[in-house]
């Protein structure tokens, strides 16, 4: 069975100008980067610009990545964070997280922690098989019941339940070290 190449290896390949590795990295991290940019900039157009800047920075600076200094995900998170802050500064304002329900009174440290947590979860979702990811996202963020998801996807209810459970188990492995 083919094994997905690690993020670290992909970044190292990008550092050598490997366009295919860059495309794989983009497909893996485009949504987490965009999600963070939208949350912090609160504007889809500027978020898209920040995401573009992020991947341009990845292309330019992948050579500087050292796996022994930290995880690939953390490196990418830092690159994205810088691009988003730069974009926010261009408007001469600080990036402001759009607070979700749990972070109404959170301070900067808590907000940073929440941002990092969301990044980890969103990144893990991108590593899942499409059929499981879709079911998980619908189950947690669409407001649809399992029966409604089955109808929406035009698959049996049992399939939705199986994919949900398999997907959660897979996420448990991908988020092995992450605590809420």
């Amino acid at each position: 069975m083919a094994t997905a190449e690690s993020d670290s290896r992909l970044i190292e390949r990008v550092g050598h100008g490997d366009r295919d590795a860059f495309d794989q990295l983009y497909r893996r991290f485009a949504r987490p980067v965009l999600a963070m940019a939208v949350r912090q900039l609160g504007d889809n157009g500027r978020a898209e610009d920040a995401a573009q800047e992020t991947f341009a920075a990845v292309w330019r600076s992948a050579r500087s990545y050292r796996s022994e200094r930290g995880s690939a995900s953390a490196w990418l998170y830092a690159v994205a964070r810088h691009a988003i802050i730069d974009r926010a500064r261009q408007k001469r304002e600080q990036p402001a997280e759009i607070p979700d329900e749990a972070s109404d009174s959170a301070g900067p440290a808590e907000r940073a922690e929440e941002s990092w947590l969301a990044w980890r979860v969103h990144s893990a979702l991108e590593q899942m098989p499409e059929r499981e990811r879709v079911v998980i996202e619908l189950a947690y963020w669409s407001g649809l019941s399992q029966t409604e998801i089955a109808s929406y996807l035009d698959v049996p209810l049992g399939t939705v339940k199986t994919r949900t459970r398999t997907g959660l188990t897979r996420l448990a492995g991908l988020l092995d070290e992450v605590q809420e």
Partner: protein, 194 residues
């Protein structure tokens, strides 16, 4: 949101249950990811590494505004002084490929400036579709069936669009002019010679 027990059923062992509950709490604690990555971002990122300069939408807007201002300025000055002062020595017709049926184009070529080696061009195109989402056309010089040198980018409006460009290549080193769109790289207009 559906209850955790409804999602996973009630036949899990205690260890597995604890693991899935942990993931459930993580998922409930983070906001939803965006529904999908917009195609405009895909296209923009697709160009990374293929251009020397990164053209963000904002930079593109600024560049287009600057180009429009300069064009208006020079057009005005040209009218005021009675003409552009450029003598075009030759003209090359551009014919449409299947990507741009009905479009036409022409490149007028000025004499090479002996002091700098630069050569002025006037590109005129008609019937090319107006692009959206930050896309643009590219004028290339081609050799042996391959894109060999970029001469500039442009967008079009309704009807006929005329763009002034300058190149520093020796035109006799190339076989043809080609207009393409970075999105798919396919030729839209091309010439039989330079």
């Amino acid at each position: 949101m559906t209850d955790f027990r409804d999602l996973v059923g009630d036949d899990l062992g205690p260890d597995e249950l604890a693991e899935l509950e942990r993931v459930d709490r993580l998922l409930r604690s983070v906001p939803a990811p965006p529904p999908e990555v917009p195609a405009s971002l895909d296209r923009a990122v697709d160009r990374i590494g293929t251009e020397r300069r990164l053209w963000t939408r904002r930079r593109l807007v600024v560049a287009v505004a600057l180009a429009a201002t300069l064009a208006a300025l020079f057009f005005g000055v040209g009218r005021w002084t009675g003409g552009s002062g450029i003598d075009y020595r030759s003209s090359v017709p551009l014919r449409a490929t299947s990507s741009a049926q009905g479009a036409t184009g022409q490149i007028r070529i000025a004499d090479r400036d002996p002091s700098t080696g630069n050569q002025g061009l006037e590109l005129t195109v008609t019937g090319l579709p107006k692009l959206s989402g930050g896309d643009y056309y590219v004028l290339w010089l081609a050799k042996d069936g391959k894109y060999a040198g970029t001469c500039g980018t442009f967008n079009v409006g309704a009807g006929t669009t005329t763009v002034d460009m300058t190149v520093s290549y020796r035109l006799s080193d190339y076989d043809a002019w080609v207009i393409s769109q970075p999105k798919d790289g396919a030729p839209w207009l091309l010439s039989a010679r330079t």
